[in-house]
């Protein structure tokens, strides 16, 4: 009898713990999602301003260097590797980690390829001696 009551006590304690954890999780989820909807507005602000920066910077690029411009933009668009690294980061292996590793490889091809080919192009542009 006493054993059962002990077990019951244990169980109720555990239930309490789980409930606590659940409420903590819920509040943290609410926090992140609440914080996230704030980020959307913030992110759109950044996006729009960056588009203006891009507009003025790109129009100032001389037409002779439009091919290297494509090379550089191609390389820097691989900054997507930031997401790939986060995805590949966890220790435990599951499908999302492998997706992340594939993305790291693809982005790395682009980063190295893009910068190297741009450098090759630019090193050929010479002034009249």
């Amino acid at each position: 009898m006493s054993e059962i009551s002990n077990q019951l006590e244990n169980l109720s304690f555990k239930a309490q713990q789980i409930a606590n954890e659940a409420s903590q999780l819920a509040s943290s989820v609410a926090e992140t999602s609440g914080g996230h909807s704030d980020f959307i507005i913030f992110g759109i602000t950044v996006l729009v301003l960056a588009c203006f920066v891009g507009y003025y910077v790109v129009w100032s690029v001389t037409p002779a260097l439009h091919s290297p411009l494509m090379g550089v933009t191609n390389a820097i668009s691989s900054v997507i590797i930031v997401g790939a690294l986060l995805a590949a980061g966890p220790v435990d292996s599951d499908i999302s980690k492998y997706f992340g590793l594939v993305a790291v490889t693809l982005a790395a091809v682009n980063i190295f390829g893009g910068f190297v080919v741009t450098n090759r192009m630019l090193s050929m542009f010479k002034k009249k001696q």
């Binding site: 992140t32 997401g83 690294l85 982005a107």
Partner: protein, 463 residues
């Protein structure tokens, strides 16, 4: 995200902006490229120091494999093959975006966006849009690559109801995204990917080979927007800023290319322009005879002229004639002539293609001028030497309102004292329009492979 991380990402963003800024002049461009590399290094190191990133070994291997492949391709690639290389690289960005989004969907906690099955709706929308753009970029770029490389016919592939099918597919993708945001179902996620793959192919197949400069720029733009989309999923400003830079860069380049052909972006996207179809429809049978010359005549006439403007086009790239052309230019300079190069905005298969090829052949960049800078000088020029270009010199663009290229800005080579046309045959150009210039009194046709003709002229000049 800690304050330090955010600050480091900000530094990367600024470096990326400065790297594009550096391209405003050839003398600062290499420093610009270096700043870009620095920015990327900071971004990667910062991300690696994130407490959630632990599997350094696997990441290191993946990074090394990718880096080796990328470097060896970039070192070996021929400069004439640049357009297809860039298209191939774009496809990788698109595919990487799809994989990152898929990973975020299967393990949202690594990205701080809730848990499996209860991802907040905002993140789902961003994720699915990023996926769709990435997937379209992937297959679209592969088709563009195939057309530029010659794996796929460069002729536009048009069939009935094409645009209607694209419209249906587009609406279907939107519907799938809406359903996915409600259900968070994994089949729906992969359906979005698949449908976007299909629409990527369908969007590019109807577009002809010579319109590829616009398409390559457009896909460049898409790869930027895909990165920005993933930036929203990660709540990461660096990705959003970089995505916006790349996105606007590609959009501006497409705009410049469209303007260089006097066509609207929509007109290019709807496709069907150029190729055999247009050639048969637009090419009126012509019985007139063009005057034909040989390399010796050309060498003799150019040796005795004071000013020469060379107009290169895609044909020069195909024949790999840039080195022979530069050698010819050097000999003419040695004989006392002023030699300059005139570049049309849409010459070649990607923006700035001709400039890179001439630079490769050691032509100094201050001898290479854009249309606006040099067009007025043709009337005071003794010889215009057109090599591998056609439509961009056709005066019909100014006079013939019925012409397919009416309104397109052209290089006024007709105003030069003598015009030489290096061409393989009398075939019309991409637009399928006969070039009036071939039949003018001051035009001499030099038939043959561009490289061969240049070499023959060099022989003539040396004698």
């Amino acid at each position: 995200m800690s304050t330090l991380t955010t600050a480091a990402y900000l530094v990367s963003s600024v470096l990326f902006i400065l790297s594009l800024r550096g391209l405003s002049h050839p003398s600062t461009a290499r420093r610009g490229n270096f700043l870009g590399i620095l920015g990327m290094t900071i971004a990667i190191v910062t991300t690696l120091s994130n407490p959630g990133v632990l599997s350094y070994k696997e990441i290191g291997i993946a990074f090394l494999i990718g880096g080796l492949i990328g470097t060896s391709i970039a070192v070996k690639i021929q400069m004439t093959a640049l357009p297809q290389l860039v298209a191939a690289f774009h496809s990788l960005v698109g595919l990487a975006a799809v994989f990152v989004a898929a990973s975020a969907y299967y393990n949202p906690s690594a990205f701080n966006i809730g848990t499996v099955g209860s991802i907040p709706i905002g993140s789902l929308i961003e994720m699915s849009i990023g996926t769709a753009i990435g997937a379209v970029t992937f297959t679209g770029s592969i088709i563009a690559f195939g057309k530029l490389q010659g794996f796929v016919s460069g002729n536009p592939l048009v069939f009935k109801g094409q645009h209607f099918i694209n419209l249906l597919l587009g609406l279907g993708i939107i519907a799938l995204i809406v359903k996915f945001c409600i259900d968070q179902n994994q089949e729906l996620f992969w359906l979005i990917v698949f449908a976007s793959f299909v629409i990527g192919v369908l969007l590019i197949v109807p577009i002809g080979g010579a319109d590829m400069p616009v398409i390559v720029s457009m896909l460049n733009s898409y790869s930027g927007w895909a990165a920005a989309g993933i930036g929203f999923t990660l709540s990461n400003n660096l990705l959003i800023i970089t995505g916006a830079l790349v996105g606007s860069s590609g959009a501006i380049l497409s705009y410049i290319m469209c303007k260089g052909m006097n066509r609207s972006f929509l007109n290019v996207l709807l496709g069907g322009f150029g190729g055999e179809q247009a050639a048969s429809a637009g090419g009126v049978k012509d019985d007139r005879q063009a005057k034909q010359g040989n390399a010796a005549d050309a060498a003799f006439m150019m040796k005795n002229s004071k000013t020469i403007i060379i107009v290169p086009g895609y044909g020069m790239a195909v024949a790999q004639a840039q080195h022979a052309l530069r050698e010819m230019g050097d000999l003419l300079k040695a004989a006392g002539a002023e030699v300059r190069y005139a570049i049309h905005p849409v010459a070649g298969r990607m923006p700035g293609h001709m400039n890179v090829l001439l630079a490769e052949a050691n032509v100094p960049y201050d001898e290479v001028l854009e249309l606006d800078e040099i067009n007025r000088d043709f009337s005071e020029t003794d010889v215009a030497f057109v090599i591998g270009a056609n439509d961009v010199t056709n005066p019909a663009a100014k006079t013939d309102k019925t012409s397919a290229i009416y309104g397109m800005p052209i290089l006024d080579v007709e105003n030069a004292g003598q015009v030489f046309f290096v061409k393989r045959g009398m075939a019309s150009g991409y637009a399928g329009v006969q070039n009036e210039l071939f039949f003018r009194d001051n035009t001499l046709m030099l038939f043959g492979d561009a490289k061969k003709v240049c070499e023959d002229i060099i022989k003539g000049l040396e004698n």
